[in-house]
C-alpha cells in the first residue's frame, strides 16, 4: 500500500517534467473554478496548493483517517484518494465553505460549545462528516452518529464531545 501511494506520487513527478496539466472545471464552495492539475494529482494537493484551501488536512495519505474529507456532489470522500481529473463538472465542498460567511454552521458552533475540537487537525474533516450525516439523517441515533463519524479519526477527544456536538447541532436546528 505504501509503495502504491509513493508510486502514484512519482507518476506525478514524471508528469511534472513532461508537462501535461489538465484544466478541470468544477465548483468549489459554490464558486466556479478551473483547476490546473496533472490528471493523477491528488485532489487534496490541488485544493491545498493551487487554491490555497489549506483547511483540508493530510493525516495519513491512504484514506484511513478522514482528515482530508471533502464533499463531492454531496458524497463524503477522502480527497487524498481522489485524482483531480475526477472532479470535472462536480461540486466540491471543503471546510472553508461550510459557514455562511461569518455565520457558522450549527455543527461548527456546537463543536466549539461542546469541546469537540481540541488540537483541531481532524476538525475540518470531522465537521464535514457531521454535516454530511445531518443532511442524510436529520435525527440521528447514537448508533447513526458513531457510524457516520467512524471514518474520521480523532486522537484527542475520545469522540465523546464530538458526539455531544452532533446532538447539540440537531437540537439547535429544531
Amino acid at each position: 500500500m505504501k509503495d502504491e501511494v509513493k508510486a502514484a506520487k512519482s507518476d506525478t513527478a514524471a508528469d511534472a517534467s513532461g508537462g501535461g496539466k489538465l484544466s478541470v472545471r468544477c465548483t468549489v464552495n459554490g464558486a466556479e473554478a478551473t483547476l490546473r492539475a496533472y490528471p493523477l494529482a491528488r485532489l487534496l494537493d490541488v485544493l491545498r496548493e493551487e487554491l490555497r484551501l489549506t483547511g483540508t488536512k493530510e493525516g495519513c495519505g491512504e484514506g484511513e483517517c478522514g482528515a482530508c474529507s471533502v464533499l463531492i456532489d454531496g458524497e463524503l470522500v477522502n480527497s487524498c484518494l481522489v485524482p483531480a481529473a475526477q472532479v470535472e463538472g462536480a461540486e466540491v465542498l471543503t471546510v472553508e465553505g461550510v459557514a455562511d460567511g461569518e455565520r457558522l454552521h450549527a455543527v461548527q458552533r456546537a463543536m466549539i460549545e461542546c469541546g469537540g475540537a481540541q488540537c483541531g487537525i481532524c476538525t475540518p474533516g470531522m465537521v464535514l462528516a457531521a454535516v454530511n450525516l445531518l443532511r442524510r439523517t436529520p435525527r440521528p441515533t447514537d448508533a447513526d452518529i458513531r457510524e457516520g463519524l467512524a471514518g474520521n479519526l480523532c486522537r484527542c477527544t475520545g469522540y465523546v464531545k464530538i458526539f455531544e456536538a452532533v446532538v447539540k447541532a440537531v437540537e439547535s436546528r429544531k
Binding site: G59, M111, I112, C114, T123, R155, G158
Partner: protein
C-alpha cells in the same frame, strides 16, 4: 481577591473558531518564497558501519542540496540529557531509520524519487531488540552494559518480610508494548538559516525552548541568533516533546547549506517508523501480604526499553519508578529499575511517561494478591489505601486530604459495580459472550519530579496594553489541551477582567520567556500559577502607582494602563518559579517529596469477551478523580475522555509489530487506534479539593487518564473469563492464546 467569573466555567476555546472553520494555520499550511522541501535518507539496518553512499542514476543531483554529518557547523548531537544521539549518523548506525543524509529540492515529488535513489552501504553488526537481549547482554550496544540509567528506592527493610510468620508471598510478571502517539498532524517544521542572520524555525512542537537549546549547540550560535516559533500544533501527547529538536535541526541544516527556506513535513509512514513511541516495559512484583490483606512488603523490578539512544529514558524511568508502588501505605518497599538500550528507534515521551507501565503492573498484580488471600480486589485495596499523614514509597508524607475510599465508592455507585460483579459471574456460565467488570486505583504526580521544577526555574511574563488588554507571555504551547483558554481564565480572574480582555501570545522564543516544556501535567498547575502571579503583579503595580483602587471598572482599568504606560513606557511583569519551602527531595537517595501534588483516581471498566471471535470490547467506562479545582469543566473532561480512549487503544488495539528492529505496521491501515465505533460511553466525574500550590487550587490532569484503563480493562477481562492476562496489548490473537491455553490446560 481573585474572582471566579471565568474559572470553573466553560468559556469558549480561544482558537476554537479558527479550528472549526479551517482557518487555523498549521506548519504544512505555510509556505515561504523560494522554499525547498527536505527529505531524510535513513538506515535500513538496525546496527552497522557505513562503508559507502552511492547516488543512483537518473536523478539531476546537481539540483539537490545534500547534507551529511560533515556539514554540521557546531556539535553533531541533539542536546537533551546525555547528548549521545547524533543529528546525522557518522560512520556507524545504531538503529534502523537512523538519519544519515539529508536532501532538499523545490519539487517534492522529484525529492521523493531522489531519496529512494540514495543507497547506503552498511556492514551489519550484531543488534539487540528486546529487554532480555539487552540485559543478557547478548551484545553490548551502548556504554558498558546496555544500561542507560538505574534507580533504587528503599523504604523500611523489605528483606525482613518474606519469612515473617502469617505472611503470604505473591509473585507476578507484567509486560506492556510500544505505543505510537499518533497525533493526526505529523511532525513538521520550516527552517530559515544563514551564518549572517542565524536560524529561525517554525513548527509543530510542545517545547520551543528544547528546540532552541538544541539548535544553539548544532550551529554553535549565540542564543539570540536562534529563534523558534510554535505553529498551531495538531496534537502531541509527548510525541512532540523531544523529536521536534531532530527535525528542526535537519531542516535548518538544509536551509543553512542551500541558503533557502526548507520545509520538512513527514508523511505518516515516516513519522510512524522513525519518531518516538511509548517505552515497552517489563515489571516483576514480589509482594508480602498478611492473611487479612495488609501489604507488608513490595519488591518491584521495573525495566523499560529505551531504544538506541538515551534521549529522555532516564526521566521516563524515574516517573515510572516513583509511581510503581501506587497509592498504598506499605511499610517496606524496594523498587529497582533500569532503562536499557536496544537497536530500535529511541522510545520517548508519551502521556504518562513511564507511570502507565508500572501502574498497569501494580494494579494487575493487586488483583492477584487479593485472590491469594481470599479477598475481593476492592477489600484488599481499601485496607491499604494511603491517607493523610502516611508515606509513599519515596517517603513523601501526604499532607493533603486523600479520600481514595470515597472515590471508589463513587465509581462503584456510578457503575453498579458490586451488583454487576455478581450478576456477570452468574450469567457467564456457558455464555458465548462473557462480561466482566474491573477497576484500578492510582495516583499521578503533577509537574517535574523531585528537584526538576527548581532546576527549570520557569518564567512567565504578563503585559498590559494602553487599551487595557492583557497579554500572557509564556513558552507553554497550545497543543489541543487548552493552554490558551486556561491561562486566559486564570489571568482574567486574577485581574477581575473579562476573558476576552486577555490574549495568550503564540510562543516565539524572540517574544516569550522560558516557562519550561509543555509536558508532565505541569502547564495548568505550575505554569498557570506563574500566570496568576504575573497577572497579580500587574494589578499591584497599578495599585502601587495609585492608578486603581481595590475595585475598578474595565474603563478604570484601561485608563490606568494607559496612564502607566505613558509615564513608564511599558507595563510588564516577569515571575520566576520558586519551589515551596516544604518540598524536600534527595536526588542521590531518591527520597522525599517526589511531586508537589498528586491527582487521585479510581477507574472502572466493563468489558465483553466474545469467546468465538476472541474480540474484547470495553462496554462502559467510568473515570472518577480528584484533581484539585477544575478550571474549565469541558476541557478537563475532554482531557480525561481523550486519555481514556488512548488507554483503551494501548490495552486492546495498538500493537507495534517489530521486524528486525523496524516497525512493520507503520500505517493507519494496520496500526489500529480507536474509532468512533470502538469507544464506550466514558463518564467522567471530578472531586474537587483545592490545592494551595496551584492557580485557584488546580492540580495537573493531562497524563492521569492514561494510567487507569489498561489495568481496569484486564482486571475486567479476568473477571469475565476467569483467565489471567498480564500483558498489553490484548489483541484478539492474545485473547485466543489466553483462552485456548486455558482450555488445553484444564
Amino acid at each position: 481577591m481573585i474572582s471566579d467569573k471565568n474559572i470553573g466555567r466553560p468559556v469558549p476555546r480561544k482558537e476554537g473558531r479558527a479550528k472549526v472553520t479551517g482557518a487555523a494555520q498549521y506548519v504544512d499550511d505555510l509556505r515561504l518564497p523560494g522554499m525547498l522541501h527536505g527529505a531524510t535518507v535513513r538506515s535500513p539496518v538496525p546496527r552497522g558501519r557505513i562503508t559507502n553512499v552511492r547516488f543512483g542514476e537518473g536523478i539531476p543531483w546537481d539540483e539537490f542540496t545534500v547534507v551529511t554529518a560533515r556539514d554540521v557547523p557546531g556539535a553533531n548531537y541533539v542536546a537533551l540529557i546525555l547528548n549521545d544521539q547524533p543529528y546525522l549518523a557518522d560512520r556507524v548506525v545504531n538503529h534502523a531509520e537512523e538519519p544519515v543524509l539529508l536532501l532538499a529540492h523545490p519539487d517534492k515529488y522529484l525529492l521523493e524519487e531522489a531519496r529512494r535513489a540514495v543507497h547506503l552501504e552498511i556492514e551489519p553488526l550484531p543488534a539487540v531488540f528486546t529487554i532480555e537481549e539487552a540485559l543478557a547482554p547478548k551484545e553490548v550496544v551502548w556504554g558498558e552494559d546496555n544500561v542507560f540509567k538505574t534507580f533504587l528506592v528503599e523504604k523500611g527493610n523489605v528483606e525482613e518480610v518474606w519469612d515473617a510468620p502469617g505472611v503470604v508471598v505473591v509473585e507476578g510478571e507484567y509486560r506492556t508494548g510500544a505505543q505510537e502517539q499518533l497525533y493526526i498532524e505529523t511532525n513538521g517544521v520550516i527552517a530559515e538559516a544563514s551564518p549572517e542572520r542565524g536560524v529561525v524555525v517554525r513548527g509543530s512542537m510542545q517545547c520551543p525552548y528544547y528546540v532552541h537549546k538544541a539548535l544553539v549547540k548544532l550551529f554553535g550560535l549565540p542564543e539570540e541568533k536562534v529563534r523558534v516559533i510554535q505553529t498551531e500544533t495538531g496534537g502531541g501527547f509527548g510525541g512532540k516533546e523531544e523529536y521536534p529538536s531532530m527535525i528542526a535541526g535537519h531542516a535548518a541544516l538544509l536551509a543553512w547549506k542551500s541558503g533557502r527556506p526548507v520545509k520538512m513535513v513527514y508523511d505518516r509512514a515516516e513519522d510512524m517508523a522513525a519518531t518516538t513511541k511509548r517505552h515497552p516495559s517489563r515489571t516483576r512484583h514480589r509482594t508480602a501480604v498478611t492473611r487479612d490483606g495488609r501489604l507488608v512488603g513490595m519488591e518491584i523490578d521495573f525495566v523499560v526499553d529505551g531504544g538506541a539512544y538515551a534521549t529522555l529514558s532516564s526521566v521516563v524511568l524515574s516517573r515510572g519508578t516513583i509511581h510503581a508502588a501506587g497509592p498504598y501505605n506499605c511499610p517496606n518497599v524496594r523498587i529497582r529499575s533500569r532503562a536499557v538500550a536496544t537497536n530500535v528507534p529511541p522510545h520517548g515521551a508519551f502521556r504518562g511517561f513511564g507511570a502507565p507501565q508500572s501502574i498497569f503492573a501494580l494494579e494487575r498484580h493487586l488483583d492477584k494478591v487479593a485472590a491469594a488471600v481470599g479477598l475481593t480486589p476492592e477489600d484488599l485495596r481499601r485496607r491499604n489505601f494511603i491517607t493523610k499523614g502516611e508515606t509513599t514509597a519515596t517517603g513523601q508524607v501526604i499532607r493533603e486530604d486523600v479520600d481514595l475510599a470515597g472515590l471508589l465508592d463513587r465509581a462503584f455507585e456510578l457503575t453498579d459495580y458490586r451488583a454487576k460483579r455478581e450478576r456477570f459471574a452468574r450469567e457467564n456460565e456457558g455464555a458465548r459472550v462473557k462480561r466482566g467488570i474491573g477497576f484500578a486505583s492510582f495516583m499521578h504526580g503533577a509537574g517535574f519530579t523531585g528537584s526538576g521544577e527548581k532546576y527549570l526555574q520557569s518564567v512567565v511574563g504578563c503585559e498590559a496594553t494602553p487599551e487595557g488588554r492583557v497579554r500572557v507571555l509564556s513558552a507553554s504551547t497550545e497543543i489541543g489541551q487548552g493552554t490558551k483558554t486556561v491561562f486566559a481564565q486564570i489571568a482574567a480572574d486574577a485581574l477581575g477582567l473579562d476573558y476576552e480582555a486577555v490574549e495568550v501570545v503564540q510562543p516565539d522564543t524572540a517574544d516569550v520567556p522560558n516557562s519550561g516544556p509543555t509536558v508532565a501535567s505541569r502547564t495548568t498547575m505550575i505554569v498557570g500559577k506563574l500566570v496568576e502571579s504575573a497577572a497579580l503583579q500587574i494589578r499591584e503595580t497599578l495599585k502601587g502607582a495609585g492608578l486603581i483602587g481595590d475595585s475598578y471598572t474595565h474603563g478604570d482599568w484601561a485608563r490606568a494602563c494607559a496612564g502607566y504606560i505613558e509615564r513608564h513606557g511599558a507595563l510588564r511583569t516577569h515571575v520566576q518559579y520558586r519551589q515551596p519551602e516544604d518540598i524536600e527531595w534527595d536526588d542521590e537517595r531518591y527520597r522525599g517529596d517526589a511531586y508537589g501534588a498528586y491527582a487521585w483516581a479510581v477507574y472502572v471498566a466493563e468489558v465483553s469477551v466474545d469467546t468465538v471471535t476472541y474480540e474484547a470490547r470495553v462496554e462502559d467506562f467510568v473515570a472518577v478523580q480528584e484533581v484539585g479545582r477544575v478550571i474549565h469543566p469541558v476541557l478537563a473532561a475532554g482531557q480525561i475522555e481523550g486519555g481514556v480512549a488512548q488507554g483503551i487503544g494501548w490495552t486492546l488495539y495498538e500493537n507495534v509489530v517489530w521486524r528486525g528492529g523496524r516497525m512493520a505496521n507503520g500505517q493507519m491501515t494496520n496500526y489500529i487506534i480507536p474509532t468512533a465505533a470502538d469507544v464506550p460511553p466514558i463518564r467522567v466525574h471530578f472531586f474537587e479539593n483545592p490545592y494551595e500550590g496551584g492557580p485557584a487550587g488546580a492540580k495537573g490532569i493531562g497524563e492521569l487518564p492514561m494510567d487507569g484503563p489498561a489495568p481496569a480493562i484486564l482486571n475486567a477481562f479476568e473477571h469475565a473469563t476467569g483467565v489471567r492476562a498480564d500483558a498489553v496489548p490484548l489483541t484478539p490473537e492474545a485473547v485466543m492464546d489466553a483462552l485456548e491455553g486455558e482450555a488445553v490446560g484444564a
